[in-house]
Amino acid sequence: MSSKTQVPAVEGWFTTDADEPTLIGTRCRACGSYFFPRETYLCRNPDCTSRELDDVSLSRTGTIWSFTNACYEPPPPYVSTNDPFEPFTIAAVELAAERMVVLGQMVDGVDVSDLHAGQTVELVIDTLFEDDEAEYLVWKWRPTDGKRAG
């Protein structure tokens, strides 16, 4: 990471704790349903009418549900990071306690051939893109086998 100001690419979706960053969701105080991104108004369980939704840190690790890559550069509002474009990998990750699946890019250097369903990954905060003023941060997934530090 560079010396520029570091700014979350989206406000309030994750902590930037250096050692143990987490996604921030909400949880319904009445029925216990989790929401990510944060639902802040009304619990979306149709049998619940609670408006009491508390911020909660989601599990930092999960298991891969599925994965793919982007072989061509996505259109805006995706922001280019490499010229020429370099493919990146995306995973859908199941969080056991929350019983939900959250998408995220894999850290650089992880190829689809390195992945399989059920594999354990952990959350890291990494650079999404940079401009002249700042470095914009996002969550990414990293295999926990240690072979690929992101």
């Binding site: 989206v10 216990g32 369980n45 982007a70 072989c71 805006p76 939900m100 699946v101 998408l103 369903a117």
Partner: protein
């Protein structure tokens, strides 16, 4: 079992990359549907337009846009948007008008002119819009989601890239003689597997293109239809269901699923529930189907649909494909039109085009791709943001 309406006429403008105003495709399809029904524009009492988000204001008010282009005459209109399922919603509005007794003759029209390359969200910074966020934060295009489902099949059921390519090769053969298809070209499995990887494991020839096209149907009351046709095709069901909480498969454009921590997932996941609602409404079931048009946004997704519409248990779709069951000549041919693989997606027209194909098949008008003795057909599709769409037609 609900009352029925008839499909008295169908019409399509050929799919392609024509680059003209979308209204022209819709008007052309409408005129073809009217001619097919043996009716005039003046006979239409109600027009339901299937909207498009890519053509500015005329695209948001297509009921009026197409009515104005055909010539204002005081008919009533509706304009419907439900992403890829827009056409089914428009059909359902027209059907409801007829069944409620407000009119006897309605037309449904959808058309689009599509941009080149990936569909992208509307411009401008919109950090509250999940469709904007998934591109910004993840670089997740539509093929990203198709590929996640495809890879899941490989991981769970041992599907292979070969299986996926076989779906596309089958549909290429089906679409060869379809004059409305954009690609009337035979592709071998090897050619498909040699095309560029877009979103692993899906290749360029396995991901549907974006096309220009237009489709229209004339829906009428049964009384009206019997005066014009001795044996009309009827609409036995239209399903436009949304998911049931918790939705546990990550769907475009979402970044996460619902949580099943507090509420167990529904017995039927969303894609299963779409066709199920149509079966319930019609009193028919998967065993009654002679053919189906399913939304093959990718080659692999067609295999998911086999299971979702009940043609086989989960995990058996590859066997169904490889046994030839879903090829013309098999027990339940799927995507006899050639599917999205041969058409490319013209979003607001696509659900209507599915109904056009099934109608032609049930009338015995499908030429070289005719399914012999077809009596019952089903369409299924799914629109972004939780829109199910399934229509059952019978004769």
């Amino acid at each position: 079992m609900s009352e029925e309406v008839a499909v008295l006429g169908v019409g399509m403008h050929p799919w392609g990359k024509w680059g003209r105003n979308f209204v022209e495709y819709g008007v052309d399809a409408a005129q073809r549907a009217l001619a097919d029904a043996g009716l005039q524009w003046d006979d239409i009492q109600f027009l339901a337009g299937s909207d498009t988000m890519r053509q500015g204001y005329p695209g948001y008010v297509t009921g009026a846009t197409f009515s104005q282009a055909l010539g204002w005459k005081g008919n009533r209109v509706a304009s419907c948007y439900a992403a890829c399922a827009s056409g089914a919603q428009a059909m359902n509005v027209a059907r409801t008008q007829i069944l409620a007794g407000f009119c006897d003759v309605a037309m449904v029209v959808g058309a689009d002119t599509s941009p080149k390359g990936f569909f992208a969200p509307n411009s401008g910074d919109r950090p509250d819009d999940p469709d904007w966020l998934r591109f910004r934060l993840l670089g997740a295009t539509n093929p990203t989601y198709f590929a996640l489902y495809a890879r899941r099949r490989m991981e769970m059921f041992g599907a292979s890239e070969q299986d996926f390519a076989k779906v596309r090769a089958k549909n290429a053969k089906h679409g060869l003689s379809n004059e409305y298809a954009r690609y009337q070209k035979d592709f071998s499995v090897d050619e498909i597997l040699a095309s560029a990887m877009v979103a692993d494991p899906l290749r360029l020839l396995e991901i549907c293109a974006t096309s220009d096209g237009g489709a229209a149907i004339v829906l009428t009351s049964m009384d009206f239809a019997r005066k014009h046709s001795s044996n009309p095709v009827t609409v036995a069901a239209i399903s436009t269901v949304t998911p049931t909480y918790p939705q546990t498969v990550v769907e475009m454009p979402d970044i996460a699923t619902d949580s099943a921590a507090a509420v167990a997932p529904p017995d039927r996941p969303f894609r299963d529930a779409i066709a199920h609602a149509a079966y319930e409404e019609s009193g028919l079931g998967p065993d009654d189907l002679d053919l189906a048009e399913v939304y093959d946004l990718s080659s692999a997704l067609e295999l998911d649909w086999y299971e979702n519409i009940g043609l086989c248990p989960e995990g058996d779709a590859e066997k169904l494909l490889n046994d030839g069951v879903t090829t013309i000549g098999g027990r339940v041919p799927v995507n006899t039109s050639g599917g999205l693989g041969c058409f490319g997606e013209a979003v607001p027209a696509q659900a209507i085009a599915q109904v056009c194909e099934i109608t032609r098949q049930l009338r015995g008008d499908a030429g070289d791709r005719q399914v012999e003795g077809a009596r019952v057909g089903l369409t299924v599709n799914q629109g972004l943001f939780g829109h199910g769409s399934s229509v059952i037609l019978k004769r």
